[in-house]
Every structure is written in structure tokens, then in C-alpha cells.
């Protein structure tokens, strides 16, 4: 079983957290484990996923895209069609219901692109919880629309001005808030990073992506897919798609990171491709760091990928050879963004556009009938402003 009872995925994972939070992490783990076995909890979660968020999402056969690529049969798992516009809500619904079970009415969260912040603010409005979202001031600037959405939803957006003023620092500040208010507050973490039990819990809440995709692929193609592809920042949409196929050894997993301005420029977020083993924000995983162990500032055109760490389960999949990870540049991601918009009428989030961009590179290696599922983790409305000057 992964992770083991201490939250380790091989050498990765764990609970590298201040003592003040150790009790809260143990409690959170206990409540979440019980919840996953509680029919009433699962029924309630299922109700919200179906009737509020819009699950199941379609597995759409991208016929024109497949023809443009020339090889393979490409399916898009349409998480972009969910309420709030991305896969993030699968997880925030689950974690907010967990917070209610712990009787914690104050919620903190971190956000980069704003998608997780919006998804958290949304479920807090739905369930009557107080919501504080930490967001780097740089991200506040480039994602003004999402900031406004969070405010409309009744959340307080707290600007983070320390360090790189992006996701990494927002996460540090959210943890500091949690350390301070742990008795009343639950931390809703948006990705598969952080201390145990977050990587396992977020994965479990995102696994609906892969479970549905498996059922849908079997019904459309009468076989399992050959490839699964997803973008990887922290890695939650990717793990959500991959994990239910873990034992299906013939299904290849490909994670696509952000090469930013280029892997050799130092301005990228390709943690698995270029990072070294390290500890940040509660878990051991791959990490972008300089030679003395200081965490580097990540870069990507896609703010949701702009993080120097990555979920420990991905580092483990990479180490055991279960998944492969590659990186595509800002420019390639923009091409992917453009391509999907033009040939399928779907404007993807810049994050998801990285997976589309890698698909172009993979295509020549595909067989004619290879079935590829790409997780379209979010829609691109939020990126229109930053993209319009670049395309």
C-alpha cells in the first residue's frame, strides 16, 4: 500500500513539519481514513461531485486533433468543464467536508494560478466556512480575475510579499497561519505535496479522474489506454489520472513539467526533470535548489506550474520507473494552447497546454491506433489576459 503508514513513498514523502502541527496532522489522517470508509461521507461527497461540481466529466475523443497529429487516438479528460473551471474542486470538496467533520470552521489555503483558491473559496461559500487564501503578490497581479472571483465568493485574499511572491511563499505563509491557528483552522492544501496525509488524501480525492477515465476508455475502446498524460506542477491532476491505473503495467504514464524559458536558462519549473532530492513544505521529494540547498525560484508562464517542488508520489513513480517526466517550454505551451483552441474549439488552461504541447512531440512515436488520454485539467479563461500579448 502506498504510502506506508508513516506517509512514505519509498524514500519520499513523510511529515517534515514543526512539532506544533504534528497532532493536527495525526488527527487529520485519522478523520480522513475513517471518512473514506464511511458510507454517509462518501454519499455526501458523491452528491456534491455529481450535482454541484458536474461529475462525471466527459472523456472526449479529439478527432480533429488526432488527425492533425497524424498518429494515435487522443482523448481529452474534460476536467475543464467542472464548476470553477478546473480539477481543483474534486479535492476542495473532499477536504472541506473533512474540515466539517473535525468541526473546524476556519479554512486556509494557498494558491498560485488562483484555481485552487477559487475552488476553496467556492466550497467554503457552499458549506458556510470562513476562507483565507494566501497568494503571492506577483500572482495576484497576473491573475486579477481569479482574485476578484475569490472576493466575490466571500473569501479573504491575503497577499504574500515575502520571497519570490509566488506559490512557494504563499504555501509557507498558509503553513504559518495554520501553525498559529491550528486549534480552529484546517488547511486545505491544493496539490499532492505537503506533509502526510496530504499527498495521499489529495490523491484519493483526485482519483475520480482516473477511475472515470478507465471506465470510459474501456467502454469506448474496449481496452485500456496506452498512454496517460498530464501536466505536473505539484502534480494533483496527474496523480488523479495515473493512480487508478498504477497496477495496469501496460499503461504508460507521462508527466509534463514546465521548462519555462528553457531548461538551461535556470528559469523553469522542471522539478522532476532537473531537481535533486530535498525537503520543502513538509515532504521529501525532488526540489529545485542551488548548490548550497537554498530553494530556487521557479518560473513558468503557467502560474499553476510555478512551484520548485513536486508531490512525493511522482518522485517515487519516477524513481521506480513507473512514470516518465518531460518538460516543455513556455513557447511550446503557447503553441499547444493555440493548437487546441483552433482545432477543437477548446481553450485550455496554460498548465494543461503543457500536456498538449508534449503530445505533439510524442505523436511521431505513437502507433496509428495508440490510445492516449490527456488530462485537460482546466480551462483557459483565466489566462486570456496574459496570453493576448504573447500570441
Amino acid at each position: 500500500m502506498l504510502p506506508d503508514k508513516h506517509g512514505h513513498f519509498g524514500i519520499f514523502g513523510g511529515k517534515y513539519m514543526p512539532e506544533t502541527l504534528m497532532g493536527a496532522l495525526t488527527e487529520l489522517e485519522k478523520v480522513y481514513r475513517l471518512a473514506l470508509r464511511d458510507k454517509a461521507f462518501l454519499k455526501e461527497l458523491d452528491h456534491y461531485l455529481k450535482n454541484y461540481a458536474g461529475r462525471p466529466t466527459p472523456l472526449y475523443f479529439a478527432d480533429r486533433l488526432s488527425r492533425v497529429l497524424g498518429r494515435g487516438r487522443v482523448y481529452l479528460k474534460r476536467e475543464d468543464l467542472l464548476h470553477t473551471g478546473a480539477h481543483k474542486i474534486n479535492n476542495t470538496l473532499g477536504q472541506a467536508l473533512i474540515a466539517l467533520r473535525m468541526n473546524k470552521k476556519r479554512i486556509v489555503a494557498e494558491t498560485g494560478a488562483g484555481q485552487h483558491g477559487v475552488a476553496t473559496a467556492t466550497v467554503c461559500a457552499l458549506l458556510g466556512l470562513d476562507c483565507f487564501v494566501y497568494m503571492g503578490s506577483k500572482d495576484i497581479e497576473r491573475q486579477a480575475l481569479n482574485v476578484y472571483r475569490m472576493k466575490l465568493l466571500g473569501a479573504t485574499v491575503v497577499p504574500v510579499t515575502c520571497g519570490s511572491q509566488t506559490l512557494k511563499d504563499a504555501m509557507s505563509e498558509a503553513i504559518r497561519d495554520w501553525v498559529t491557528n491550528v486549534k480552529t483552522t484546517n488547511y486545505i492544501l491544493g496539490s499532492v505535496g505537503g506533509p502526510h496525509p496530504y499527498p495521499a488524501m489529495v490523491r484519493d480525492f483526485q482519483s475520480c479522474i482516473g477511475k472515470e477515465a478507465k471506465r470510459q476508455a474501456l467502454s469506448f475502446e474496449n481496452k485500456l489506454p496506452d498512454y496517460l498524460m498530464a501536466c505536473v506542477g505539484g502534480g494533483s491532476n496527474a496523480i488523479g489520472l495515473f493512480y487508478p491505473f498504477f497496477a495496469d503495467k501496460k499503461v504508460k504514464f507521462i508527466g509534463v513539467e514546465a521548462a519555462g524559458e528553457g531548461l538551461d536558462t535556470g528559469h523553469h519549473s522542471a522539478t522532476l526533470v532537473r531537481g535533486r532530492t530535498g525537503v520543502l513544505h513538509g515532504s521529501k521529494s525532488k526540489l529545485l535548489q542551488d548548490e548550497s540547498g537554498q530553494v530556487k525560484i521557479a518560473h513558468s508562464i503557467a502560474p499553476g506550474l510555478d512551484y520548485p517542488g513536486v508531490g512525493p508520489e511522482h518522485a517515487y513513480y519516477q524513481a521506480i520507473g513507473r512514470a516518465e517526466y518531460f518538460a516543455v517550454s513556455d513557447k511550446e505551451a503557447l503553441d499547444g494552447f493555440n493548437l487546441l483552441s483552433k482545432v477543437e474549439g477548446i481553450i485550455p488552461a496554460l498548465e494543461s497546454a503543457h500536456a498538449i504541447a508534449y503530445l505533439k512531440k510524442l505523436a511521431p512515436r505513437l502507433k496509428k491506433n495508440s490510445v492516449v488520454i490527456v488530462c485537460l485539467s482546466g480551462r483557459g479563461d483565466k489566462d486570456i489576459n496574459s496570453v493576448k500579448d504573447l500570441l
Partner: protein, 262 residues
């Protein structure tokens, strides 16, 4: 005997409490850190905590975050801090504990870290993001070689867990005096005295010292009554930043420390 252990033995025999100031190594510069350590010893510090700056100090408030940021910008690295401590050991035998986050140790190589920290003259290491559950090999090796790994207890630590921590503790136990990050607070929690008594009971023979939020001589005195020592960090680092342009910054910060100790 390890310098931390002999210091607590000596203090206990004299019926005294430990005063432990914290400094961010390399803030405002490494030579200044060296001068401050010698000044602090002269002014009655019992143990000094030397923070080795990390880019993402999740347990620290704004003052230590800022000093860490400046120190890293100045080029402070683990290696250079070891160099400073090695030079200082020619002049002082004050117990020194390194305080840093685990990534710097992992990046340096845990075995190499233990060896070089001891060779430089460190007596212990305090790692706020390393609970006793993780990196058992590192702690085992440090214990074997004689580098004290200082463990934490917090107001949120259950009685059962306090026992678990106490069984693994050495040097002293760092009791986090409030649920939060480092940084001065006007008032400390009313339950602190009660919590410290419980921590002392769990700790048995090991000294318990309290830190986080402590910033005035009154607080130092009040807390000392319930435990074996007090740690002051942010208030001192703030004083350093305010004294950078003073005619004699070392004396200004030394005076401040002496007043805190009382």
C-alpha cells in the same frame, strides 16, 4: 562531556536558569555574528543558538525571515558558518547549537554534516521541521557521534506524545511557548506556566527551555520560574537590525541582551 550537558549540569548545581540568545548567522555579516557571539558570552549568555539561514523558514516569523533572506543574499552558507565556528572555538567554549531546516542538512549530506558540525565546534542541532519520526538514521548517528539533536514540545503536544519525545530527547527540550511562528508577542499565553510544568514532568532529567514570542526581561523572568531556561530570538535579531548604524552596534546589542537576561 558535551558542552550543552555540562552547562546544564553546572547551572542546575548553582540553582540557575539558562539564558539562550539566538542569532541569524551572517546577519548583518558573518564577522559581525562572530563578534556578537563573543559579546554575548561576555554578557552572560549560557548557550547560543546560531541560525543557519534557509530560504523557506516555515516556523519563523517576519523578523527571522528577513534576516535569513539578508544573510543568504550576503552569501552565507553552511560551510562558511562552520568556518566561523571553527575560528571562534579558538576563543570561546560557550555551548553552540545550530538551528536550521532539514533541507540544508540533506543537501550537505547528513553524515558529512554531523562530522563537520562537530569538527567546527557545534554541540547540538535544532531542526524545526524534523520531528523524531523522520530521519531515524541521522538522529542515531548524531547521537553516536555526540552531536545533540534537540527536540521540540509544543502546547499542542499530547501527554502521550510528550513521553515519546522525552524518551528520545537529549541536550534539552525546546518548548514552543505558543502555537505560532517565532516573533515577539506582547503577551504570552496564560496557560504557559501550567504547560511548562507538564512538560517538565514528562521530560524527567532533561532540561526544558522555552522559546517563541519571548521579548522582554519580565517575560524572561516569569517563564524562567517554570522551566530550566529561556530562548530569545526575534527580539534580538530586531535589535541587531536597529543597531546597524549605531556607533557601537556590538555593545548596543550586548546591552540589550544583558537587560533581557536580567
Amino acid at each position: 562531556m558535551n558542552r550543552i550537558d555540562s552547562k546544564f549540569k553546572e547551572l542546575r548545581a548553582a540553582g540557575k536558569k539558562a539564558f539562550m540568545p539566538f542569532l541569524t548567522a551572517g546577519y548583518p555579516s558573518l564577522p559581525m555574528t562572530g563578534k556578537l557571539i563573543l559579546e554575548f558570552e561576555k554578557r552572560g549568555a549560557d548557550v547560543i543558538e546560531l541560525g543557519i539561514p534557509f530560504s523557506d523558514p516555515i516556523a519563523d516569523g517576519p523578523v527571522i525571515q528577513q534576516s535569513s533572506y539578508e544573510a543568504i543574499k550576503n552569501g552565507t552558507t553552511l560551510k562558511k558558518v562552520f568556518g566561523l565556528v571553527r575560528r571562534l572555538r579558538e576563543e570561546t567554549q560557550i555551548p553552540l547549537a545550530a538551528m536550521t531546516y532539514f533541507n540544508l542538512i540533506l543537501n550537505y549530506g547528513p553524515t558529512r554534516f554531523i562530522k563537520d558540525a562537530l569538527a567546527a565546534g557545534f554541540d547540538g542541532v535544532i531542526i524545526p521541521d524534523l520531528p523524531p519520526e523522520e530521519e531515524g538514521e541521522f538522529s542515531k548517528e548524531a547521537r553516536k557521534k555526540g552531536l545533540k539533536v534537540i527536540l521540540f514540545m509544543a502546547p499542542t503536544t499530547s501527554r502521550e506524545r510528550a513521553g515519546f519525545i522525552a524518551r528520545r530527547a537529549e541536550g534539552f527540550i525546546y518548548f514552543v511557548s505558543l502555537t505560532g511562528v517565532t516573533g515577539a508577542r506582547r503577551e504570552l499565553p496564560r496557560e504557559l506556566g501550567f504547560q511548562l510544568r507538564a512538560a517538565k514532568k514528562a521530560a524527567g532529567d532533561i532540561a526544558v527551555c522555552a522559546g517563541f514570542g519571548v521579548s522582554t526581561p519580565q517575560q524572561v523572568k516569569a517563564i524562567s520560574a517554570f522551566c530550566d531556561g529561556v530562548i530569545v530570538g526575534s527580539a534580538i535579531v530586531k535589535k541587531i537590525s536597529e543597531s546597524i548604524d549605531a556607533s557601537d552596534p556590538v555593545k548596543a546589542v550586548g546591552d540589550f541582551m544583558a537587560r533581557l537576561k536580567g
